[in-house]
Structure formats: C-alpha cells, structure tokens
C-alpha cells in the first residue's frame, strides 16, 4: 500500500490513456471493477465480497467464506468463495465471445456466438452446489499441498444457462465419446501463452445430465468476473474445478481429457487408501468424481454464549454430491448420542438442503455442537478426518461450533 500513494486523479486519466482506455471502459465489466494494475488490490471492493471473507492467496485469487457467512438458502455473490488457478482474463468482450465445440468425438466442429447460445437453445435455472475439491484441506496431517481451505470453499447459487447436452447434441456426439474437456481464457501465472492454468472436464455421462449448464447468469445477473463472466460450465456436485470459468471451447474427447490439472495428483486421490504421508505414484491416483456427503452449521456463528435454560436454534445446509441427503443429526456430547434435525428436500437435484434443530443443554459449561449428514446410500460423514491423500481433497469430516452455557 505504502508504495502506491502516488497516483492522483490526473495520473489515472493519463494511465488509462497509455494502457489503453478499453481496459477501463471498454470491457463489459460489472460496475466498480477496475484493473489490478491501477489500484491496490482490494478484493473485497473489486469482487464485491463480504468483509469477513478470508483471502488465502492474492495471486492467483483464492478467497473463502466462513461458515456463518453461508447462512443464506441461496448463496449471494458476496459470500461465494473464489478459487482461481491463473490470472483473471482481461479485455472480456461478451459481444464478441464465442464457444467452440470440437474434439475427436464431435460430428461437426461448431462455433457459437454467445448471443446465439442464448437464443438458439432453451434456458434453464438450477440451484447448484459447488464445493472445491480441497475444501477442508487445512486439517490434514501431515499438511497437504495447496491453498489451505478451511470450511468455506462451498456455495450454492442459482445458475441460468443452456444445457450443455443441447449444445453438444447440436454439434453432434460420436458414439466413441468418453469425456469432455473445457478450455478458457485465463492466463497462466508464468505468463506463458502456451500454457493453460486449468483445463478439466467430466465423463460424457455427467456432461449430458439435465443440470449440467453452460451458464451466463448467476443469481439472476451477469456472472461476476471472478466467477467466470461471461460463460461458465456448471456441473453441480462435482469438484468445483469441473465448472470451468471464462470458457470458450469444449472438446468432446474419445479418451479421458488430459488437460492441465486432469493428470498427475491434481484433483485425484489414491485409488487405494494410503497411510498418512505415504508417497503415491501418479499412476496410482484416481480422478475425483462426485463429492462426498457433508454439512455445515451456518447459524449461530461459533463462539455463542447463551444463558442456562435457553434453547439454541441451529441451522445449516447439507449436500451429497450426486446424491441426496437423507438425514442430518447433531450431537452435543462428541458423538456419544445423536439427535435428528429436520431437513428439507432440495429445490432441485444437486442443490444443497437446509436443516434446523432446537438444542437444549443439560447444564452450564463448554459444549461443541457437531452436525452429521447421511446420504441416500446410507453413508455418513466421519467425525475424524477421512483418508489422508497427498493433495488434501475430500475432507468431509463433521463441522462443529463452540457454545458456552452460563
């Protein structure tokens, strides 16, 4: 900050002239966005984020929520985590934006203008839960590599767009199609134009689900720049990295997509369980598909002090990747006994579900309220950390809050 106290208003005008005015004015950016080069990177202003969001990394931007910020039924932009792998593209021109469908298994390679996508295909809106594969990484022991997400790399917003399936079918899918892979316009951290920061995808069966969208609206408005404006792939229930931002190309592949962060250890876990800290060869790592069952207590915020005799109302959300949540429970005695919470049905497949309960405490003292969800296959969240893996994915251990009764 100290070093940037030199730009006055006149300077700014000059700057924008030299850099190219279109950076400042020409792009169809949300209001209040100005390029990083010209300002202190205040992510809260730049991305319209809640002041209690936590910045894990400022280059590339990685920002997470805290549990109590996720209390809304539908997550607003202000409380949605950001996981960027590279630099946010500049000079985004939605009017000139195109999406190309290509790959070994496309019948006719086709390019669509964004405007045509919107008019040519029917639009759908779904609430879709996206959780970063590495959410909860900071609890693994020994520590796992990457951004040390705690509990806040999950959100469930409303996404509006066209079905990926409709577009893929319009271009034509050959019978040997196996996978799709996306390509986007973000820039590699090394600035090497031949490198993609991330290019992931999913099996063709997931791509063809009704809820897998090519989205251009989030919560009823243009998608904010940090979340993929003007076009984002949204595949609810899978690691959020499948939901590529700023996409301009989707390849229908005749093999498992081999783009950046599909291979090696990225978004993969050991095919067979390993001991904590064990070395795992790349070929023994398997791609993560559906995310596991999980829940979050979003009210009250941890640290609540209540008076003896009072009831504590708790609430939160639960989700289970491709599956539905069948049951949520809470415990105030570290799992010795569990009480059932009321849980709502999802508004649509792949949306998180809301639970609530009234909690009574037997006497004064320090308590932890733990929540546990069970999916439609009868699989529950573990209270301890699940299996260690080199990159620290899939920590779905029970969430808990601290409460004092006085």
């Amino acid at each position: 900050m100290k070093r940037r106290e030199f730009i006055n208003k006149a300077g700014l005008t000059t700057l924008s002239t030299i850099i190219g005015a279109e950076i400042v004015y020409g792009i169809n950016l949300p209001k209040d966005y100005s390029p990083l080069a010209l300002q202190d990177p205040d992510p809260f202003k730049m991305f319209n984020k809640h002041k209690e969001m936590v910045v894990l990394n400022d280059k590339p931007w990685n920002i997470e929520a805290q549990a109590h910020l996720l209390d809304d039924a539908v997550t607003p932009n202000s409380c949605m985590f950001i996981r960027n792998n590279g630099l946010i593209p500049k000079d985004i021109d939605a009017k000139a934006w195109t999406l190309t469908i290509d790959g070994e298994s496309v019948t006719n390679k086709k390019t669509y203008a964004l405007a045509d996508l919107k008019t040519k295909f029917k639009q759908y809106t779904y609430q879709l839960t996206l959780e970063c594969g590495g959410n909860g990484r900071n609890e693994f022991n020994p520590p796992a590599k990457g951004n040390q997400w705690s509990v806040g790399a999950v959100h469930s917003a409303n996404w509006t767009g066209v079905r990926l399936k409709d577009v893929l079918e319009d271009a034509g899918i050959k019978s040997n199609a196996v996978y799709i892979g996306y390509h986007a316009t973000d820039v590699h951290l090394s600035m090497d134009p031949t490198k993609e920061p991330i290019s992931r995808g999913c099996p063709i069966s997931k791509a063809l689900q009704d809820e897998t969208l090519l989205a251009f609206k989030m919560n009823g408005e243009d998608i904010p720049i940090a979340h993929g404006y003007p076009l984002r792939l949204v595949a609810g229930g899978w690691p959020a990295s499948v939901s590529g931002k700023w996409i301009n190309r989707i390849s229908i592949r005749n093999k498992v997509h081999d783009g950046t962060k599909m291979t090696g250890t990225a978004y993969r876990v050991p095919c067979e369980p390993v001991a904590p800290g064990e070395k795992v060869k790349d070929e023994d790592m398997c791609i993560i598909e559906s995310m596991p069952v999980k829940s979050l207590i979003t009210y009250p915020k941890t640290g609540a002090i209540i008076n003896e005799g009072n009831t504590l109302n708790i609430r939160g959300h639960a989700w289970a990747g491709e599956l539905e949540v069948r049951k949520t429970e809470y415990s105030i005695d570290f799992g010795a006994t569990w009480q059932v919470c009321r849980i709502e049905k999802p508004v649509n497949r792949l949306a998180w579900q809301h639970f609530k309960a009234e909690v009574k405490f037997p006497k004064k003292g320090y308590y932890e309220v733990w929540a546990k969800a069970t999916d439609s296959n009868g699989v529950s969240q573990p209270m301890l950390l699940p299996g260690w893996n080199p990159k620290g994915y899939l920590n779905n251990a029970c969430h808990r809050i601290a409460v004092k009764v006085k």
């Binding site: 020994p142 590599k145 316009t185």
Partner: protein
C-alpha cells in the same frame, strides 16, 4: 479473436505499463533529487493544493518485526533467495500456507519445474528448502484438532 492475439495484446499492455512505471520511477527519482537539493523548488504557488506524488522505492525490502513487509515472509537466512525465486508467479501467501518436510518441498519444486515453468534453481534450491523447513515447519495436528481462536460473544435471541 484468437487466444494468442488476446495474449499479445495483453503482453503489449503489460509492456506499456512496465515502461510507464519505469518512467514514473525515473521521474520520481529526479523529483526526489531536486527536492532534496532544494525543497522549495516545487513550491510554484504558496498554497498549492495538488500534492507532489512520488513513487517510493526504498521500502521495497523493509523488514518490520522480523517480517519482510512486501511478502510477509519471515526474515531469516535465505529470505531474499526465496523472495527472488518464489514470489514471481504467485504471491508468497501460497508458500507460507504450505508446510512440508524437505523431501516434499523438493518434490513440489520438481513438480513446478516440470509443469509450471519454474526454472532450475541450482545451489539456491537447498537454500530455499532449508529456509522453508526451518521457518515453516509442519504443525502436529493429530486426527482432529481442538477448536481454537474462538471469538466468544453473547447470543441474543
């Protein structure tokens, strides 16, 4: 518009920006020199309301309370080697968040060299790894840690 074209435009802009900032620094340096010789030089009018804006470069590597202010890294043996090799692509925040032993740091560096364009570090590699394992040792977390840093507050109903 092709990606390369986009990128070339982008590089051009970065180039122009770099040139601009270098220019600013030179001008600022000049201003500083003149100012230190004759502080009244810029007093064109007595009650001038436009301050002189100067880019100050001298605090680039300031250390405060044992922390390298610009990056947040701990001031210890090897600091500048880490600053110069590990904060170019991503911010130091990504380095500081990660706790590994020597073997895993070496593997991470190898991974960045193979996939992320990190250069050969030569003798600097052992300096960097030594700095990291000494100053950012892995904590012992157990299978589930106690809740910590709880901000207690009275919950009104």
């Amino acid at each position: 518009m092709s990606k390369e074209e986009d990128f070339r435009k982008y590089i051009k802009k970065v180039y122009r920006l770099t040139a601009l900032f270098s220019g600013l620094f030179i001008i600022a340096g000049g201003i500083l020199v003149i100012y230190s010789v004759n502080p009244d030089f810029f007093n064109f009018r007595k009650e001038s309301t436009t301050p002189v804006y100067v880019a100050i470069e001298e605090d680039e590597d300031t250390i405060e309370n044992g922390i390298h202010v610009r990056t947040g890294l701990v001031d210890a043996e090897g600091l500048m080697t880490v600053v110069n090799n590990c904060t170019n692509c991503h911010s130091a925040k990504l380095v500081i968040q990660n706790r590994m032993n020597e073997e895993r740091w070496n593997a991470t560096i190898k991974w960045m060299q193979e996939t992320q364009n990190l250069w050969d570090l030569g003798n600097n590699q052992s300096i960097i790894v030594n700095y990291l394992v000494t100053n950012y040792p892995p904590p012992e977390l157990g299978r589930r840690a106690n809740l910590s840093d709880i901000d207690w507050y009275e919950l009104k109903d």
